[in-house]
Amino acid sequence: MTNVTQSTGAEPRPRPADASLWSMPHLDKDDRWLGGVASALAVEVGVDATVTRAAFVILGLTGYGVVLYLALWLWFTLQRPSEVHQPLPKAIDPTRRHIGVLAVTGGLFTLFVQLPTGVSSLGSVMSLAVLLSGVVMIWSRGAVDWEASDEIRRFIGGALLVTVGLIALFLFQFGVSAVSAAILVALVGLIAALGTIFGPWLWRAGAALGDERRLRIRADERAAVAAHLHDSVLQTLTLIQHNAGDATATVSLARRQERELREWLYSSGSTSSAPEFLRGAIAGIVNQVEEMHRIPIEVVVVGDCAVDDAVLALLKAAREAMVNAARHSGADRIDVYAEVEAGTLTLFVRDTGSGFDQSAVPADRRGVADSIRGRVERAGGSVAIASEPGEGTEVELQVPYSEQPSPGVSTAEISTTAGGDS
């Protein structure tokens, strides 16, 4: 009984934080005497569960409270949220369960006695009592466990009581003379009895099926994760083992995998990883350049925008700037920073490598600089290149972008058109 006193003395539980005003009361699998209806209502109304339980008991004395309870139970159960990660409920304390079942049975008993076509004679009342105690016996069973022999004994005992009770009830109500009519009624009664007997079991089987479905969904999720990890992480780990002697290859493989995994973990389902948007497009370019030139590129992007023609031109130029830095600067790292702000996209490609004297640029490198400049300026943007010998190089690219997203250009296009210089 300690459990009982603990729970009745408890403070009213708060409503779950995410429950909106009209959300369905949630049957609490852990705080219940029977179905958890009283405690669910208590949470909804904001009172202690003792109050609602007492209310149900008082209403139950008239009989109608039981009908109300069962109706609410059925309704709440049908509305049960299909959470995948729902924990398995604790088993109800047996004492509580028996009290609950007895309360329901007593209420039903009262209800039947009150019916207009009432159960009047003492014999009828007693046979009804026998019938209902059979029902109690069956319903107060714990978890479905058809292996346990005492479960089966109890079930058979309950079924016998129900049958005897039904037959006796008919005999007392309608008399032996009305046997022909009784046969018809007995058929109906038999069906009702079967429903009463097997109802709980079918109900539990149905619930078990639902649980199984949830478990299957969980398993499917696991399988999807495993498949992804296999295709990406495990493959990369194998490649790393094969390339263990080549430090730069190992580092670039690890970095690329890190970026991919991160992208998958933190932006799955969002648009930002798609190549039609700036973040995704930059990630694609950086992966290519890192892989081709074996140099780590640190990327920071603030904001995001759709890739339109001007943005695409800037990205192609940015790719050339990264390739230049990777090939000529001698730096051990490239920093890329892009910022989307008030209709303007600005992108910086910076290295801390050798740098160069801009007034004495050899013709071939000026050509590259011009192609960067030409691309961006044709798209209505501007380019600034800052470099001093020994001080590294920073290329600043800027284009206006349209606020209306018009995706539809892919990074494949960038790599094919800009890939000629590598």
Partner: protein, 209 residues
Amino acid sequence: MKQRVVLVDDHDMVRAGVRSQIGEHVDIVGEAADVADAISVIRSTTPDVVLLDVHLPGGNGPAVIAGLPDTEAKFLALSVSDAADDVIEVIRAGARGYVTKNISGDELVDAIKRVGDGDAVFSPRLAGFVLDAFALEIPNPVDPELDLLTAREQEVLRLLARGYAYKEIARRLTISIKTVESHASAVLRKLQLSNRNELSHWAARRRLI
């Protein structure tokens, strides 16, 4: 004098790696692998700087900082985690900086020294997160000062995001390194004190542009 440092990370390999990277330059006085351990180790060893992993068994990095309200130790978040919300959260809990685990040993030693001196440490990534967080223009009726970065602070953050070191920023803006440091600290303070609860949800909304 060497800085006294505690390492908090649940991966032995990471701790061993960090130890070999910086062990010569700082004095590692303790290690911990979960929140409860971290709190008791930091209490008993009173380090100058705690290198704190963002994700820990038993409540994550912010829980460690919250469990030590009176400590003199400075916290530097060290993580592979890139989820902006997690990083912003550990900074708002009181960490003085955030660096990623792929940082070089020398840079890490430098960052520890800086944090020990009471300065802020911004990796390019953290600078980007902060710029993003403050990019949304949500006026704060209580204290608008806290919700806006000054033009100079934005400038410093942008350069940090572009990969500039403090001394390069100082030269470029022709200000002293001390001034750069005080701008960085001011940004950190705003990030910690700003009461706009939108900060934690900015990332999702930012993508809706």
